[in-house]
């Protein structure tokens, strides 16, 4: 387990040195928000419409920006045969998967945290601290599910010719069970619901996260074995 943290720490150290991925993901998600905000321009004052649309926009921004990062996550490992070097280390394959999840989670979650204030400004929300914490919880649960599947699929598409195209094609259908409750819960929170009203969504997100983390952990060795 500790070695998963070593892998994640190494990834983060390399990422923060260049911030390449982080910057482009953040700019991308910001652009998505801006484009939607402009196209909704006329009715941004209409709270009812905004409440219906904005949560979806937020998750579209996060999903697509996140995918951008995911498709690069194993590229760093293949550059000098490092993935092979990791597989030669005395750890099981699952530990490599967990390490990659940790670093991807940290990077994508950071991107989301930086994007969120812009979302709040662009769509004219004013949120209390309780609401904000609740929103962060949903962001975390949704992002974890996204990363759990995305990390596995990004390793899976590594050896294919059309990697960048294939990843979203494979990932999006599997993400539906995360995206729907995440969008619903986000909408609920932004509309001022308390945690009590969001139990079904939270439960679904938690089940998805758990199931897909465990299964992906189990099958990861088949994805990387040559």
């Amino acid at each position: 387990m500790i070695r998963s943290f070593y892998i994640a720490a190494k990834d983060l150290k390399a990422e923060f040195r260049t911030k390449q991925m982080l910057n482009s993901m953040f700019i991308f998600s910001l652009l998505v928000l801006v484009v939607f905000s402009i196209s909704f321009g006329d009715f941004l004052g209409d709270t009812e419409k905004v409440e219906k649309l904005a949560p979806g926009v937020l998750w579209i921004a996060f999903t697509f920006a996140g995918m951008l990062g995911l498709s690069r996550t194993f590229v760093m490992e293949t550059e000098n045969g490092c993935l092979e070097a990791l597989m030669l280390c005395p750890v099981d394959r699952g530990a490599i998967y967990t390490g990659k999840i940790l670093s991807n989670l940290a990077i994508v979650f950071l991107m989301e945290a930086v994007t969120l204030p812009f979302f709040i400004i662009l769509f004219n929300y004013s949120l209390g601290i309780g609401t904000l914490l609740l929103l962060l919880l949903i962001l975390f649960l949704g992002t974890f599910g996204f990363i759990a599947v995305g990390t596995l699929l990004s390793a899976l598409t590594l050896g294919t010719r059309t990697r960048e195209l294939l990843l979203p094609v494979l990932l999006l259908p599997l993400l539906l069970p995360v995206l729907i409750p995440a969008v619903e819960a986000t909408a609920g929170i932004l509309a001022g619901n308390s945690i009590g009203n969001l139990i079904p969504e939270i439960r679904l997100l938690a089940v998805y996260d758990l199931v897909f983390f465990v299964i992906s952990h189990l099958v990861f060795e088949h994805v990387v074995s040559d």
Partner: protein, 234 residues
């Protein structure tokens, strides 16, 4: 080999006869159905009797993909990959038919080709997962790698579909349909034996159709493998 194709022949004949029976029952045996208000439903309700069996069998097909995928990862024998890809192909066809019959029915019942009904939407997701599975297979050339990676995806995909079902249900309950009551799928008053019998015969018919297509597909794939290995031996 010869006995296999003989079996498939018998299966095909059985399928054709049961399907004829099913169609006959649909049009001549089934009494007209009235809704709660006492109005006779239009003819399109008959679609339900094959729409539902096809939907269930498309799930079943993905179940076969799932099981064969697990078995492939366990013993890495390409025979499981043949089962997985054959079931996936027939399953895609069935999932597509679910969408077609579903939207024809929806058009007739509500005037919309597409409604975000729970079952129809779940079938759409299933179809998309199948499609992704096919895309993945196409992107890989080396047989063992293709078998291995698509087995992984077949497992994940199968698990995601019930989760999709629950999340779509959650979503639907938050945004109830604007039109009509729940006519879809569950079909409130299907107690009548005539209805049940018709449904059962249709179910058997489409199950047999699945078996026939599946075994033809498996045989084809096996033959191709054999050709490949002969070519290799030369």
């Amino acid at each position: 080999m010869a006995s296999n194709s003989r079996k498939t022949g018998v299966l095909a004949v059985a399928t054709a006869s049961v399907m004829l029976l099913a169609i006959y029952m649909l049009f001549f045996y089934l009494p007209p159905i009235k809704d709660e208000a006492g109005e006779v439903l239009s003819g399109s309700f008959r679609i339900f009797f094959f729409h539902m069996p096809i939907a269930i069998i498309s799930y079943l097909a993905f179940g076969v993909v799932f099981a064969a995928s697990i078995l492939y990862l366990r013993d890495k024998s390409l025979k499981w990959d043949i089962y997985a890809r054959s079931a996936a192909e027939v399953g895609t066809l069935f999932a597509f038919l679910v969408l077609v019959t579903g939207s024809i029915w929806a058009k007739d019942a509500w005037g919309w080709y597409w409604i975000w009904d729970l079952r129809l939407t779940t079938s759409l997701v299933l179809f998309l997962v199948y499609l992704a599975y096919t895309m993945l297979r196409k992107a890989l050339e080396e047989p063992e790698k293709r078998a291995r990676l698509s087995a992984v995806f077949g497992i994940l995909g199968f698990i995601s579909v019930p989760l999709s079902f629950f999340s779509i249900r959650l979503w639907r309950s938050a945004h109830p349909l604007m039109f009509g009551g729940n006519t879809g799928g569950s079909g409130g008053g299907l107690e009548g034996t005539a209805l049940q019998l018709t449904l059962l015969v249709n179910f058997i018919a489409y199950f047999l159709l699945f078996l026939t297509l599946f075994s033809v597909k498996v045989q084809n794939e096996r033959m191709e493998e054999e050709l490949d290995s002969r070519r290799y031996a030369e």
